[in-house]
């Protein structure tokens, strides 16, 4: 690993001031790993993990979760479990207890792809080294995205937490040298397009302070289903966060996002709309699932993801309809 300088931020202001040109360090479970591989080589680290950003606070209209709350803390929080079961389930399905004990909300939001070519300095990767090409396009693509890719990059977004937050329509609150702003969840992660190296809608030096999740009836009746190569401790082949508000036997509102298939957490508002007014039954779920994977482009090793993602969505919607 290359040398770097280390500084522990004493306050949020301190961190924002030190931010431009540095990398923020939270739990380190993604960043330290990539620094060992020399995929990421920041020359300055600003440790934000001890800032007073760990609180989880109920507001009249939603829950505000501090950027440095650990994945374990959020998953176990009674209000999270009651209001957003999908979020707790998604978090508990990811990584392992030792990682969740240090991994933070902001770090999870900004964890990098697990694309094997991104992680291997010997291969071409436009995300790691803009303009070098993409070895995945002609490579082994079992773990690559079928939605949201470009000719430059098909790296999969690996997070489980983000799939739940996308469905729940969270809002990310950040502070930078130019002040505070809110970023809707769907705008936070960028599609690769011509610039796969640009991954987040953050300006240099902007620090994530918290994530706000609005309360909703669908959020209270929400589930996460994750399908993977083994029963535990693996990244998703396909996953789905689904929430339903049901009144008088009809779906009044739906929340739906897919994981394991997109270059970013994949919320599909059209599929949510298609569910509105329908009976919470298999036909409606199948139609929504069909819409959810529209536009997918599969390759040799990941063609199976089409059907797997559809079935995962139907399963998640079915469980949501059954209620907790």
């Amino acid at each position: 690993m290359r040398h770097f300088s280390y500084q522990r931020a004493a306050s949020v202001e301190d961190a924002v001031r030190a931010g431009p040109g540095a990398a923020f360090l939270a739990g380190g479970t993604s960043l330290v790993d990539l620094m060992k591989l020399e995929v990421l080589n920041p020359s300055r680290l600003v440790d934000v993990s001890r800032l007073d950003l760990r609180g989880i606070e109920a507001r009249p209209d939603g829950l505000r979760i501090g950027a440095c709350a650990t994945n374990s803390e959020v998953a176990a929080h009674p209000e999270v479990k009651r209001r957003f079961p999908v979020l707790s389930e998604a978090l508990l399905s990811g990584a392992s207890p030792q990682l969740r004990n240090v991994a933070t909300v902001a770090g999870n939001l900004m964890q990098r792809t697990r694309c094997a070519y991104y992680r291997d300095l010997a291969t071409a990767c436009n995300k790691r080294e803009p303009g070098s090409g993409c070895a995945a396009l002609e490579g082994w693509t079992r773990m690559h995205a079928i939605l949201g890719g470009s000719e430059r990059c098909i790296a999969l977004h690996p997070s489980d937490m983000c799939v739940a937050m996308a469905a729940l329509q969270a809002v990310i609150h950040v502070r930078g040298p130019n002040g505070d702003r809110d970023i809707p969840f769907g705008d936070f992660h960028l599609l690769p397009g011509d610039h796969p190296e640009r991954e987040f809608a953050l300006e240099p030096g902007e620090l994530v302070l918290s994530v706000f999740i609005p309360f909703s009836a669908a959020g209270m009746r929400s589930r996460y289903v994750k399908v993977r190569d083994r029963a535990s401790y693996a990244f998703a082949l396909a996953s789905c966060a689904a929430g339903l508000e049901i009144a008088s036997g009809k779906i009044r509102a739906a929340q739906l996002a897919l994981g394991g298939v997109g270059t970013k957490p994949w919320r599909v508002p059209e599929a949510e709309q298609a569910l509105q007014g329908q009976s919470p039954e298999r036909v409606a779920f199948q139609r929504a699932a069909e819409i959810a994977v529209r536009g997918a482009q599969t390759r040799r090793d990941n063609a199976f993801k089409m059907e797997l993602a559809r079935r995962t969505a139907v399963r998640a919607l079915t469980l949501a309809a059954e209620g907790a």
């Binding site: 690993m1 040398h3 300088s5 280390y6 380190g28 392992s96 207890p97 240090v102 535990s232």
Partner: protein
């Protein structure tokens, strides 16, 4: 170089370290506490598990500077007055190890599981150990050992 002060197994230690020194290397190389193992060096296998302020963490994925001002428990810190910790004893009694490489990490993860939930079910023990890989035992005796330690604590 940066100064770190860490309470390791109850004793305060202060050293000047490079920021890039991993916690696991600080424990093994600087403090000669070689009970904490390095298996994968990528945060996957759990051989490097230690307790940081009581919570199980993977010490290969943390810098030593991140532990500054905090307390770390390694496998060397479990035995008291020459007597093995109940979890160590249970692993011995139930044959919860073969080569022993995963064992320090397994035991510390297991301690955290029972610390959080002394009545953890078999299924909860199994999921609680998902971040600790064992190439030898097939896990059954490990789970039995944790159950035995839980029984004994009641």
């Amino acid at each position: 170089m940066t100064s770190v002060t860490v309470t390791v197994n109850g004793a305060s230690k202060t050293h000047q370290v490079e920021p890039r020194l991993l916690l696991v290397h600080y424990l093994r190389e600087t403090l000669s506490l070689t009970g904490t193992h390095v298996g994968c060096d990528t945060g996957q296998c759990g051989a490097c598990t230690v307790l940081l302020d009581g919570a199980a963490v993977k010490s290969c994925s943390l810098f030593a500077v991140q532990a500054d001002g905090r307390s770390v428990t390694t496998i060397e810190g479990l035995a008291k007055d020459g007597k093995m910790h109940a979890m160590q004893d249970a692993f011995w009694q139930e044959h919860g190890l073969q080569c022993g490489f995963c064992t320090p990490g397994m035991i510390l993860s297991a301690c955290e599981i029972l610390e959080r939930n002394p009545r953890a079910s078999e299924a909860e023990i199994r999921t609680g150990l998902e971040g600790n890989l064992c190439r030898c035992t097939g896990y059954h005796n490990i789970v039995k050992a944790v159950q035995a330690a839980a029984q004994k604590a009641r």
